[in-house]
Every structure is written in C-alpha cells, then in structure tokens.
C-alpha cells in the first residue's frame, strides 16, 4: 500500500550531491513530492528532507539505494516516529480594500501573517504542516491566488532521539 513518507538524508556538502540524490530518485522511478536542503548541525554536512510516496518495498529500496551513494552519511525515515513536519508558503492573493478584513480574519485564524500589502493584493505567509497549508490555500482560492510558493517540508523527530 502506498503511503507518504518523510525521509531525512544527511549528506556531505559537496557539489553535485543534490543531483546525485535527485537523479537516483528519477532513474529508479521513485516519487519526490518535495525536497528541501540546507545546512545541518555539523559543518560540512547538509540535511535533505524528502517527502515521497511509495509502498514498504519501495521505501526499503529508497533507503538502501541512498546508502549506496558515497556522499550519503545517514538516512532516517522520520515518519515512523512522532515527527514535527513544517513547511512555509507565501501566497499572493487578490485583495481589494473591501475584502481585506475578511481575508485578515482567515489569516489570523490560521495564525498566519500578512507580510506585504499591495494596492490590490496581500502577501500571506503561513507556516505549518502540509494539511494546514493545503487548507489555507483552499480558503484563499475564492479571492484569487496570483502566486503561490511553497518551501516543501522540513521535519524532525520529537523528543530526545
């Protein structure tokens, strides 16, 4: 049964390492729903967080194939543990002055924030798990979304692990 998995991959911060990882997913037919990369706690290492959809066997292959890359240090399936997953979205939404109070209401309810105001639109910043951002987008759609940019999920296991 295909389910969504969030995987953290600790890699050497080397040129081409993103290409190695994304290329591996591409050529073996593994799905990438989102991928984020940035510095980790250790100098010289980056952490990628990849959200993928697949069954148990596919997930096992993804982990094993990732480990075959010399620049991959560690692969952790975050979604088997209690996990905090967050992404950030910037949403530019049509907002004539008359509609603004209504939109602000939605934004406040979601504990999102307005980070820019144009004469005919607002830029909303929302942080949360994927479902929260999906919901926010749904609610803003009726006003007319002009531009949408999502970071993809970054994630971490809760507690002392």
């Amino acid at each position: 049964m295909s389910t969504r998995h969030t995987i953290a991959v600790l890699v050497n911060d080397q040129p081409g390492v993103l290409q190695r990882v994304s290329g591996l997913f591409g050529r073996r037919g593994f799905n990438i729903e989102s991928i984020t990369v940035g510095q980790s706690e250790e100098p010289g290492l980056s952490r990628m967080v990849i959200v993928t959809i697949g069954d148990e066997q596919t997930l096992e292959q993804i982990e094993k194939q990732l480990y075959k890359l010399i620049d991959v240090i560690k692969v952790i399936n975050l979604s088997i543990s209690p996990m905090v997953g967050r992404e950030l979205a910037l949403i530019k939404v049509n907002a004539e002055p008359a509609e603004r109070p209504e939109i602000m209401g939605v934004v406040e309810t979601f504990r999102a924030s307005v980070v820019d105001i144009g004469s005919r639109n607002l830029m909303v910043q929302v942080v949360g798990d994927t479902t929260k951002i999906d919901a926010m987008i749904e609610l803003l759609k009726p006003y007319g979304i002009r531009e949408l940019s999502r970071t993809g999920v970054t994630a971490m296991i809760r507690g002392n692990v």
Partner: protein, 581 residues
C-alpha cells in the same frame, strides 16, 4: 615489444622515489599516485585536455600505457584487464568526445560490478560551464553509471581523490569510479604529499561480516530441505570465494547452477553442477529452481534474464540471498533469509557449521539423471559448420583452460553453453549491459593481465565490426589473442527473436557485404584464416594455436541457427523452447 606486462618495478627504491615530497605538477601527481596504487598498465587516448598528463608520460616507463584506436577500446580493455586480474583497471581519455566515448564502457563495468578508475581530462576550471571547445559535463553524464565520481578543482585534492577512487572501486560491491581533471589542475604545481593509507569516508562502510543469526538460520534450512539448490553468481568470483564455494558444495552436497557471470566460479565437470540458468540456461537448472524448496543465491542479483517472469519464479522455495550489496536483497525477489556480507567471508564462516543435506538424496538423484538426459544439444551437420560445434572444438582443443572473452549475441550464449570453465576469471563477457564491441578489446586487456595464458576472443560478425580497429593494438604490441569470428552473416540474436516472436519479419539484420575478415586482419598485419567446414575448421584452429602472435579465425557458419533452450520474455523459466535437436 611483447605482450608481457612490464616487470614489477615496485621496489622499495622506486617507491621511495615516488613518495618523495616534491613540488610537481598535477599530472605528475596523477602518475605517481597511480604507481603507488600498484598500477602496471593503463589504456588510453590523448587529446587537448590531457596534454599535460601525456606530457608527463613522455619517456615514462614505470607503468605501461597502451594506445588504443578508440576510447571505447581503451575502457573495454581496462575492463578485461580488471576482470582477468582482479585488480583495478585504469583508462585515460580527454574531455568532451573522449570522455563521452567512454560512457558505454563505464555502463558495462557498472552493470557487471567491475572495478575501474576512469580518468578524464576536462577544460580548465575557468572555462567549465561556458560550453568551451570539447567541454562535456562527464561527471553529470555518468552519475547514474558510476559508483562514485570526482571533479577535481584543486590540485591539492588529487592524491586523496585518487586513493579514495581506488578504494571505492575495489571494495564492497566493486564498480567504476570516474576522476575528471580540468586542464589547469593537471598543470598546476604543488607540493606532492602522498595520501596516507587511511581512507576517511564516513558514508562508505561496506559490510563484510554477516550477521551470525542469519547464518544459523541458513544452516537450519539446509538441514530441513529436501530440494535445496544453489544459484551462484559473479560475486563468488569477485570476492575470491570460489574455493570456499567448492568446500560448501562438497560438505552440503547441494546441487549448483552458476549464472552467466558466475561461470568459472565452480568446476563445470562436477556432477552436482547443472550449468547456467535462465533464458538460455539448461533444462535442469531451470527446472531445479522451479522445483526447489530452498534456493540459496550466492552473489547473484536475480537478473531478469535469470528469473524470467518473477511471478512464478521458484514458487516453492524458501529464498536465501547472500550479497555484499544490501540493495540487491529483496529488490527483485522477496527474501526469507537475507545475508549481507562478502561472499567469501560468509562462506568461510558457514563452512565449519554446515552439514550434508541428508534429506536431499532423491533430489540429487533427479538432478544427475536430468543432467544426463537433457544436455545442451543441436543438430550437427557434415555440410555446413554449426556454431555450437565450433565452440565445442575450441573447448576440446584447449581443455577448457583458456581465458575466453565474448561479444554479445548468439555466439556469446553458445560460448557460455559449450565452453566448459573450471577456473574463475576465465570467462569475460558483458552480462548486464550486453555491450557489442566488448569482445576484442576486453581480450586485449585480459592478455595484458595474463601474458602467459591463452586468450580466445569469440565474436559475431556484427560485434566484431564495432571495435575491429583494435586489431591494430594486437599487431603493434604483438598481443597474441586468438580472435574467433562466428560469421553467420546476420545479426543472429535479433534474427532469432524476429523469427520466433515477430513472425519471421526479418527487419534490418542482414550483414552480408561485411568486409572480408581475413583481409581485414591482414590489413592490420594480423594473420587471418577462414574455415567453412569441419576439416578446415580444425586445421585453421590448429594453425592459430601454433602461431605465436595474434590471429583472426573466421568460421563461416549456418545462418538460421537458434540458441536453445529459450525462455521467451514474460514466461516463467520452466517454460522453455527446447528447439529441434
């Protein structure tokens, strides 16, 4: 010059000379580092981006450089050298087209887990990314077909990179590693300090020693099994585990089939050996896998040419899979007892523990009976030469002791079926990628590795024309390879599929009008012989064997011959076309 590899000059004195910290160029660092890795022979082709490297090789005699006539020839030769010797093969090419000409050879080595270090030049670091003359992103192009790759931007990294590359290529599941060296890096002077022996790669720790609990499970499973079967592959040879495998079979008395790349891992004369399995494997091997209640895969990867249709493969068997690459386990076939580790290490740990499979006497009797009743067979002829007969003749006259390389196609399958190997590293063939053009250059590499042994290169008339330019190398260096061409004037394997599966629609397979191979050989200064019947064949082959240098022997064979048995795609391996013999 003779085909002998240079005498071993790795004396302490020379080593000291190479190790001496000195300010030298990147090119000289490369050469010294190769020497320190024990390299005796490299195959290459110069060009603009490697001019500094070739300049450093001017008058340089500490290792031998073989100038091929095409970069593809260079890498296949390095591949043949590696497969025959067990050492890392090395080749060098220039940037752009030189590098891209290596791609097929890199993929060939990658698919068959052959240790290579592939060195390419690139344009200067200041030009990278500008579409400069002869620029190609070769690290990017080869990422899916290398075990690892480096683009060296700082000359100070070179000693470490080269040392890591040899380590990665030759350990764990072996494979090709590419080092791309921009032109300015090869020219830059720096203080050479040899890389220390320690390799610091946090993300690379191949697991050699298996989990003991898993071994216990296998020992137990063997005791309980009534129909155990071993499927042994190239991993046995690559790990040097053939003796341990022999001991394992001797103790357990479990019947064994060896895959295409596993030929030579187990002596073919043994009564429990059933031959090769799969698409063109023996009846007994395929039936045994399908009937087995325990299938012990030792260093094979359940390739689709072995398994046939996976739904219905070994339906009654508990599956054991021993492999150094954890990603192979469970990839194609669900596995009951996974054992991750080096094949030789695993077998040496198992051997003191295992006992004879006592419940399998009936099974052994059936195996032996089936082996005797359904051997490979073909309808011989006294009027036309049959390709199978030619291979049998080669086998008989050389007692199965030659190193045999092949190209790809029907002749490859007949060679696998009718040449009887008893030693590892005697059979060199492109199994995974199925690369035409591999047969001749790989034989050159094998002969460089073993100047004293008889090397036979068996080719079809198609593949022979894909790298025939390397005949020049045989002539110039007097490399005494015996080059066999099984000429049926057609792309035989394609013809076979078109006959059997595409309703006799023979589309673009006619190779009539190919060059006169005897004259082609002579044009390069190589002796050429031709045979069209058995008498001529025996005579020509005897003459070839007596000739000290390279010889091309063309056997003109019947055109419509098919390779049997055959499992057509989509069938399970017990559904074999057995042919008309």
């Amino acid at each position: 010059m003779s085909a002998q590899t240079p005498e071993v000059r790795s004396t302490e004195q020379l080593r000291e000379k190479w190790m001496k910290p000195e300010v030298i160029t990147g090119s000289e660092i490369l050469l010294r580092s190769l020497l320190l890795e024990g390299v005796e022979c490299v195959f290459g082709y110069p060009g603009g981006a490697v001019l500094y490297i070739y300049d450093a090789m001017y008058g340089f005699e500490d290792f031998k450089h073989v100038l091929t006539r095409h970069e593809q020839g260079a890498i296949h030769a390095a591949d043949g050298y590696a497969r025959a010797s067990g050492k890392v093969g090395v080749c060098i090419a220039t940037s752009g087209p030189g590098a891209t000409n290596l791609v097929t050879g890199i993929a060939t080595a990658y698919m068959d887990s052959v240790p290579l270090v592939v060195i390419t030049g690139n344009v200067a670091t200041t030009l990278i990314g500008t579409d400069a003359f002869q620029e190609a992103d070769i690290t990017g192009i080869t990422m899916p077909i290398t075990k690892h790759s480096y683009l060296v931007r700082d000359v100070k990294d070179l000693p470490r990179v080269i040392h890591e590359a040899f380590h990665i290529a030759s350990t764990g599941r072996k494979g090709p590693v590419l080092i791309d060296i921009p032109k300015d890096v090869s020219a830059t002077l720096t203080l050479f300090e040899p890389s220390s022996n320690a390799v610091n790669l946090r993300g690379y720790n191949p697991r050699m020693v298996p989990n003991k609990l898993q071994l216990d499970k296998l020992v137990q499973a063997i005791e309980e099994s009534e129909r155990p079967m071993i499927l042994a592959g190239g991993g046995v040879i690559y790990s040097g585990g053939h003796e341990a495998l022999y001991e394992f079979v001797k103790k357990t008395e479990i019947p064994i089939t060896t895959t295409l790349l596993g030929l030579g891992a187990f002596p073919s004369g043994h009564e429990l050996w059933t031959g090769m399995p799969g698409m063109h494997g023996t009846y007994t091997s395929n039936m045994a896998i399908q009937k087995a209640d325990l299938l012990i895969n030792i260093g094979a990867r359940f390739d689709d040419r072995v398994t046939g249709n996976l739904n219905g493969f070994a339906p009654h068997a508990k599956i054991v899979h021993i492999d150094i690459d954890p990603a192979e386990i469970g990839k194609n076939v669900p596995t009951d007892i996974p054992i991750v580790g080096d094949v030789k290490t695993v077998l040496e740990m198992l051997n003191p523990e295992v006992k004879r499979a006592d419940r399998a006497d009936e099974w052994r009797a059936w195996i032996k009976q089936s082996n005797a009743e359904v051997p490979f067979s073909y309808q011989d002829s006294e009027t036309v030469l049959k390709p199978q007969w030619v291979i049998e003749m080669l086998n008989e006259t050389t007692k199965g002791e030659a190193i045999v390389t092949t190209d790809v196609g029907q002749h490859q399958m007949w060679a696998a079926q009718y040449y009887k190997f008893n030693q590892p590293r005697s059979w060199i063939t492109s199994g995974g990628l199925g690369t035409m053009g591999f047969g001749l250059p790989s034989a050159i590499g094998a002969q460089m590795a073993h100047p004293e042994r008889l090397v036979i290169s068996i080719n079809g008339d198609g593949g022979m024309q894909m790298c025939s330019q390397e005949l020049a190398i045989c002539a110039i260096n007097n490399i005494p390879v015996k080059i066999v061409i099984i000429n049926n004037q057609v792309l035989g394997m394609v013809r076979q599929w078109q006959e059997l599966i595409y309703d006799n629609r023979y589309s673009h397979i006619n190779l009539e009008g190919s060059p006169d191979f005897v004259k082609l050989a002579e044009a390069y200064g190589v002796k050429g012989l031709r045979a069209t019947n058995k008498e001529e064949a025996r005579k020509a082959w005897a003459e070839a064997l007596e000739t000290p240098g390279p010889v091309v022997v063309e056997f003109v064979v019947s055109k419509g011959e098919n390779v049997y048995p055959m499992v057509t795609q989509g069938s399970t391996i017990d559904q074999m076309l057995l042919g008309d013999a």
